[in-house]
Symmetry: C2
Subunit: 151 residues, 2 copies
Amino acid sequence: MDGNLLGNRVITQIGLLVNDIDKTSEAYARFFGVEKPQWFWTDAPEVARTEFRGASSDARAKLAFLDMGSLQLELIEPDANPSTWRESLDQNGEGFHHIAFVIDGMKEKIELLGRNGYPLLQKGEYTGGRYAYMDTFQDLKVLIELLENDR
Amino acid sequence: MDGNLLGNRVITQIGLLVNDIDKTSEAYARFFGVEKPQWFWTDAPEVARTEFRGASSDARAKLAFLDMGSLQLELIEPDANPSTWRESLDQNGEGFHHIAFVIDGMKEKIELLGRNGYPLLQKGEYTGGRYAYMDTFQDLKVLIELLENDR
């Protein structure tokens, strides 16, 4: 391994799993004295084309974002379909899920990380870009999400 | 509750618990193509004056910091004495522990959060400042650390 695998080390998001996005959004809004963010569903399966552990999944999640200065907190309430969100929430309960980095060249980055021992865990599309969760836990003690936004 | 309880919403650190700070520091250095950070022990008990769940503790930890753009990743390898670090590592294993915010007026902030339902979990001193972990987990799904640096 040489150089920076991501080409970037600025954390852009911290992702948290929650059971009730409305309740947790409200708690954050009160704690930090900001407006309660509006949650929204991730895209429908035919747009998101989610793959989790190599298999297609209809998984969706409710998302809400809070601006925390230099990065965003992302609240994630997953549905019951197979996903890293659902798996982690069932196994570990509510709380931290991942840190995210903006990258260029998703396909190449997934291959590069794979060659370096960090396999793809889940990927999907969203309006305006795509994401991939890479299984970096054993070495880095966190999951890393790659985000690529269309220009 | 009105206004921002912390007077700030810029996350300055993300704290991760690890079993082997040398090994995880090395993994981060390789992954991000940076120099491996040097770890150091937190201050001795007579300086740190650590209190965990209201009782004095001799707990110490090895710490290492990685600059991740707009914030720091803090790696924490606790010793065996009672602390939120040791408790969380034993109960939940390696990984995420807290997010930290720089605040002014530690005593007042601890009282304000306490009055709003967020009790003090652990506090201590370090050369140049002091910290407090507040038990915000039930509402915010993360622990919050307050940091106050002397001027």
